[in-house]
Amino acid sequence: MLDLATPTISERSALKINPAKTCQPIGAMYAALGIHSCMPHSHGSQGCCAYHRSHLTRHFKEPVAATTSSFTEGASVFGGMANLQQALINIFSIYNPEVVAVHTTCLSEVIGDDIPTIIKKAREEGKIPEGKTVIHANTPSFVGSNVTGYSNMCVGIVNYLAEKSGESTEAINIFPGWLDPSDMRELKRLAEELGVKYTLCPDTSDVLDLPQTGVYEMYPKGGTPVEAIKRMGDAIKTVALGEFTAHAAAQKLNDKCGVPFEALDAPIGLTNTDLYIDALRRIAEVDVPASIDAERGRLLDVIQDIGQYFHEVPVAIFGDPDHVVAMTRFAIELGLKPKYIFSGATGRAFENRVHAILDGRFPDAIVKQQGDLFELHERIKADPVKLILGNTYGKHIGRAENIPLVRFGFPILDRVGHRLFPTVGYRGAMHLVEKISDALLDQRDRTCPEEWFELVQ
């Protein structure tokens, strides 16, 4: 049986079964892809790079190029300096990116490779061509999770590149956190609709949601250009969307260049989108156009139309912490009843944040950091829910327990919609309402007794 879980919660001291997270480097690789003309570089064994590329490709259905230091037995004894230096020479001479973004792995971290020194040495020895940029982030796989890696690379981007010239750009920095390219595109559309000058960083739209053009481009037109990143130090303010993937970089930019920031959640759902729109409005001192008001109104309208089917429906939400935090708030707005709120991420901050949103209204809710999907399954078996909101890894539970799964977050390995339709903003929320109501009503239509099967809902 594929279904291993029983309705008792097993005591486990030393083991993850069916993890709700993965390791740091993939997050660093994803963030780096949001820089224009950037080659992510994995400083470690060849397998890490291959796994991350395959995993990202399965989610985005796009080619993902990244290079590796191809560690050997020798490198693991004597350090990876020679590998990284040779790699830099090869990358610039053949693939010719503007930026190489190096991230470490468990291997190079344990060996203790000092990446800044290696980069400095490579530059002094002329191995990095004039005008080209090399940045890095430490992303040990045995600390934190994939979101930590994303956050660390965002901090690295700010740390290496942002500058303060003193001449204001009059722009707002938007740090999107770990979102899909379709979401980043929507964040930009909303900012443009508001008439706000902005820099979105990182920005994977037009990198990992490419149209069919007949050409394979290693560096597509998207991604935040280095010049724009440099100028982030001269912005009016930063709006950081996600405690676990965006706030640290905003803090870093504040420390480095004195750009203040507003720390928000990912703009998933009504309130979170309101907060995003309102932050941009206040900072840029603009009026919200009627077009955005209308979008918001349409979202409210559709929730009214279909919301009766959401009322107190118990739901399990799992995935990366920023996604789960924002989705929990939206679930409450829809009238759903959050029951299990799980993240594989480490640290109390996640639980505290979710409890703040639940605000004592759902005393039975079980909130869990460092959770895994085996435990979630055990709990659902013991006390079921009617809906699961999470990534593809929820499909085993959904099938075993006959509970509909609405896919959202990362990774989605078996559907295509996330590549096209955003989950952020009012439009994203409308899309989620459609998906959730379709799932609940399809399930009802499939399983209810004939006399309860109705044409009109």
Partner: protein
């Protein structure tokens, strides 16, 4: 970057060969480690071990390392099991910073105790990763202790990622499997018996092969590792012949079985009509039993008759189309070249991640003049050659698919993510269907590459 400007990485110059150009005896360089800084399509030692052992369905597979190694290999491969599905779960010791400092042995021991009690597996494989190799955990000692405690084989897999290439991972997996072999009772095994090695039951392919052998009166003692069972592996030394499908991964095991148990082996492929027939005849011929041989001929005839009409239809449509192949092992490439030929298609680009010099020599002989042959290639190179050769179809794995689609080229997965069985005679029809579906998809009428061509033709 325009494709005509793409150069081949200087270090890789000898890993690319064009048939009919340069010295005829020029050898392709392979078996090299990838150049640091290359966008290689290759993976690591752990990956090699994991793919080979993964399909053993009633064993526990515990990854001792940080979470990633287990997360990325969780249920990603359609290696079907007709019974237990234990292998499709992901078990990890999820090593944290404190484990890196103080060692992870205790954690591993605790994890194994908990899991063996909960899942009652027939055996456990414990994969070491980069980090366990480095922090000096004595995985062997932990395995020995737990094995003694629980009474099941707990087998360490020597697979730190950095300790070689994917091929070394295959070898480590063979060594791990070998520890099980010879421990089972071989009484009652037919004198006409075989093992299938290097066959992973992707999309149910093992079942097709087993059915053929059942029909001609040959017993399959164990398939390693497709739809694999620990008890079958334990007694596989009782078989009289080993058939090695994925030679890159399992030749090592086959040789050991020859050396220690005197079991001969044949390198076979169940992909394509010619190769499938050859594999069946080859195995049938070993036992010197005219009845088996006659049943084999009957089976091949019967199966061919079944598929010929449909195959002819596809051949008519696909004739003259051009294909590119980039796969893990080179032996698979031979079969693909031949199978494409039987569909009337030409292979104009072929390469592998892990081929050896003999493999590439054989490929050179097999291919038409002008065919580009590459070892350990990368996306830019592959894209460049695909466009240069104007291919209609790309056959590869997960990382190649989106590249093909970006270029506007049909694609067929011949790797872990294939969803249709491609083995045997019915597999040939599935393959033809899949190639046909991809190459003839209406979408190509609208993609720029083809649309432009149509306009050019019309203008001319």
């Amino acid at each position: 970057m325009p494709h005509d400007e793409i150069e081949i990485l200087e270090e890789r110059r000898n890993q690319v060969f064009r048939k009919g150009e340069g010295a005829a005896s020029g050898e392709i360089a392979c078996g090299k480690r990838s150049a640091a800084g290359s966008v290689s399509q290759r993976a690591c030692v752990f990956c090699g071990s994991r793919v080979v052992l993964y399909p053993i369905a009633d064993a526990l597979h515990v990854v001792h390392g940080p979470i990633g190694c287990a997360a990325y290999t969780w249920d990603i491969r359609g290696a079907h099991s007709s019974g237990p599905q234990l292998h499709r779960n992901s078990f990890s010791t999820d090593l944290q910073e404190k484990d890196v400092i103080f060692g992870g042995e205790k954690k591993l021991a605790a994890a194994l105790r908990e899991l063996i009690a909960a899942c009652t597996p027939k055996a456990a494989f414990v994969y070491s990763t980069c980090i366990t190799g480095l922090i000096g955990d004595d995985v062997d000692a932990v395995c020995k202790t737990i094995s003694k405690e629980t009474g099941i084989p707990v087998i360490p897999v020597e697979s730190p990622g950095f300790s070689g290439t994917k091929k070394d991972g295959y070898r480590a997996a063979c060594e791990a499997i070998y520890k099980l072999i010879g421990t089972g009772d071989i009484s009652g095994i037919s004198p006409h018996s075989i093992n299938l090695l290097g066959e992973f039951n992707i999309a149910g392919e093992t079942w097709i092969m087993k059915d053929y052998f059942r029909r001609i009166g040959i017993q399959v003692v164990s398939c390693i590792s497709g739809d694999g069972r620990v008890d079958e592996i334990r007694r596989c030394h009782g078989a009289k012949l080993n058939l090695v499908q994925c030679s890159g991964s399992m030749t090592h095991l086959a040789k050991k079985l020859t050396d220690d148990y005197g079991i001969p082996f044949q390198r076979i492929s169940f992909f394509g009509i010619e190769d499938t027939a050859a594999a069946i005849y080859g195995a049938a011929g070993v036992f010197g039993d005219p009845e088996i041989e006659s049943r084999a001929r009957e089976l091949v005839k019967e199966e061919l008759l079944k598929i010929q009409p449909e195959l002819r239809r596809y051949r008519k449509i696909l004739k003259g189309r051009k294909a590119a192949i980039y796969v893990g092992g080179a032996f698979k490439a031979f079969s693909l070249v031949r199978a494409l030929r039987s569909l009337g298609m030409r292979t104009v680009l072929v390469g592998s991640q892990t081929g050896n010099p003999q493999d590439y020599e054989q490929l050179k002989e097999l291919c038409d003049p002008g065919t580009v042959i590459v070892d350990d290639s990368n996306p830019l190179e592959l894209a460049k050659f695909c466009l240069e050769k104007d291919v209609d179809l790309f056959i590869g794995g997960v990382k190649e698919r989106p590249i093909a689609y970006k270029l506007g080229i049909g694609f067929c997965d011949h790797n872990h993510e294939r969803k249709e069985a491609l083995a045997g005679f019915e597999g040939m029809i599935n393959f033809a269907k899949e190639v046909h579906a991809s190459v003839m998809s209406p979408v190509w009428n609208y993609v720029p590459r083809r649309a432009n061509r149509r306009q050019e033709r019309m203008a001319a």
